[in-house]
Amino acid sequence: MTGLTFELLCMQLLTGIALGSIYALLALGLCLIFGMLNVVNFAHGAFFMVGAFMGVYFLGVTGNFWFSLVLTPLVTGGLGLLTERFLVRPLYGRGLDYPLLLTFGLSYVLIEAMRVIFGIEGLPSVTPDGLKGTVDVGFGFFPKYRLFLIAATALIIFGVWFLIQKTRYGLIIKAGAADQEIVKVLGVDIAKVWLLVFGLGCAIAGLSGILASPTRSVNPEMGIPILAESFVVTVVGGLGSPLGAVVAGLLVGVVYSMTSLFFPDLSELSIFVLMAVVLLIRPQGLFGKAGAMG
């Protein structure tokens, strides 16, 4: 390995963390919905994709990245609310597979919808003006946007953590996940909580879509591989563990970028190998509880 320096290693580590941020966000959204509603949202990748499209579209219309950063999660969150209310809700109590199947069908529809609206080629991805270029991080020049990505992710994760751990809503969410009957008896409209949690999960998926959009091509199929990868993150972290989602997300990102440094041919495979190893040693995932895997 010629040219392998400590600086290069650090750069790759930071790149991995930036990539992992997206994974962490996606897995966090999946995890919120699963932890509360016991639903694996198979349309999560599609919501991510819709988020990327909306982000680029709003950026084009308003010319303001921050504006689209606010609008996009509102759109995907709203879609999420509609999905829960009219599609997922009728399926509660009919077994775990049905909501999963339904959201899978929904992903087909969302992919086609974007093809109808924006064409099959997709949209050119745009980096917002203020975040172009690189910045000196001590061991080299790192793209400004990726640093922003890491910071934004940290902020969102902190926000979700704050919501769940420090607010009354969070208390209800946690209680509802633990025992929905009791929460109902206490007079909380649990259906409304579920609705909002599903919407929140989809809003986060959309947010990760717009955040990721400058770093990858925006096309209707972009959610397909990312869904598989966020499942890997979820499996590695442990289904239903928000901490697991974040840690595994970053881990998967770093493993990916390190493998692409040393064995570029194996980079796509590396995270799946990681999953296989975790499954062999801890089938419930790094932070999952034994027996809590459905």
């Binding site: 009728p90 087909y108 529809v109 919808a113 999953m275 499954l279």
Partner: protein, 319 residues
């Protein structure tokens, strides 16, 4: 139960064989009939695991793909005879099933679906990266079989109707095998596991081994479907390995009726026919398929065949 259904159910292999023999004549063209045959088999193989044992795999495209690619590679790169090529495809898929099943059956329920989906992506990337053998993004081209030698007699494989019947031979063989499995004690254990895994374990059945065995059998059948598809299309598109393809098997099973013998076939037929019709109006057939599928999940979870069976059972007032 309705006597007609009873008769069909009792002689299901014969009934499906007879129906499939006249099937190409009620379809608009033979290529569609062949497609339905292949995907019907794919969905039936998948349904063995999902409908009868309750394990929702989202990675079965891997076996369709392994079957297709290995058969294709054997023919294109090693000029093997078609029979050996099919065998390699099926065995390869079974080995793939062993490896994937070994990892996946350690998990349950939703987790199982997620793990199989992710493992299926591994297979996708392996074949995608092995470009010199598989053609990578362009797919494997030139899986040409012009004549089939059957017992020394050359048969024109390019004639669509003859192609249909040759493929049908293998499909009937597989249908017979599936029927035998379901009628055997293994089939009973599978349904016991679906209904209550803990109770089945308490009855003394080896759950892990049964699951793995069924996973392998299911993979082998889907591999056969893949092999036949490679011969039919004469190319292997990389899309065969995409998890949306796994989803097709899921959709077909649900649409037709999971856990019923004919359901997956009915589902495959309806879905592919629908696709054929819709594509003449719009290229956005995926949206239509998705909406139809969502409609069935919401309102007809038993699927077309399952709902029909239910109706007849109710009308008879028995069972």
């Amino acid at each position: 139960m309705n006597p007609l259904f009873q008769l069909i159910a009792r002689h299901r292999v014969l009934a499906s064989s007879l129906f499939l023999m006249v099937f190409p004549f009620i379809m608009p063209y033979e290529a569609l009939a062949i497609n339905i045959l292949i995907f019907g088999l794919f969905a039936m193989g998948f349904n063995l695991l999902f409908g009868y044992m309750g394990m929702l795999s989202f990675g079965h495209a891997a076996f369709l793909g392994i079957g297709s690619y290995l058969t294709g590679i054997a023919i294109v790169h090693y000029s093997m005879p078609w029979g050996a090529a099919i065998l390699i495809g099926v065995i390869g898929a079974a080995i793939g099933g062993l490896m994937m099943g070994f990892l996946a059956i350690r998990t349950r329920g939703i987790y199982f679906s997620m793990v199989t989906l992710a493992l299926g992506q591994i297979v996708f990337y392996i074949f995608y990266k092995a470009e010199s053998l598989t053609g990578g993004e362009n797919g494997l081209r030139g899986v040409r079989v012009d004549t089939f030698n059957i017992l020394g007699f050359p048969v024109d494989f390019l004639n669509p109707l003859i192609k249909y019947y040759i493929i049908l031979f293998f499909v009937i063989l597989a249908i017979w095998l599936i029927s035998r499995i379901l009628n055997s004690p293994l089939g009973a254990v599978m349904e016991a596991i679906r209904e209550n895994e803990k109770r089945a374990a308490a009855c003394g059945f080896d759950i892990t081994r049964t699951k793995l065995l069924v996973f392998i059998l299911s993979a082998a059948i889907c591999g056969l479907a893949g092999s036949l598809r490679a011969l039919h299309l004469s190319i292997v598109p990389i899309d065969s390995l995409n998890y949306l393809q796994s989803g097709q098997a899921v959709m077909m099973s649900i649409l037709g009726g999971m856990g019923t013998f004919f359901g997956p076939f009915v589902g495959a037929a309806v879905m592919l026919y629908l696709e054929d019709v819709v594509t003449t109006f719009t290229r956005h057939w995926m949206a239509v398929i998705g909406l139809v599928f969502m409609f069935f999940v919401l309102f007809f979870p038993k699927g077309i065949w399952g709902t029909i069976l239910n109706k007849f059972n109710q009308n008879q007032g028995s069972k």
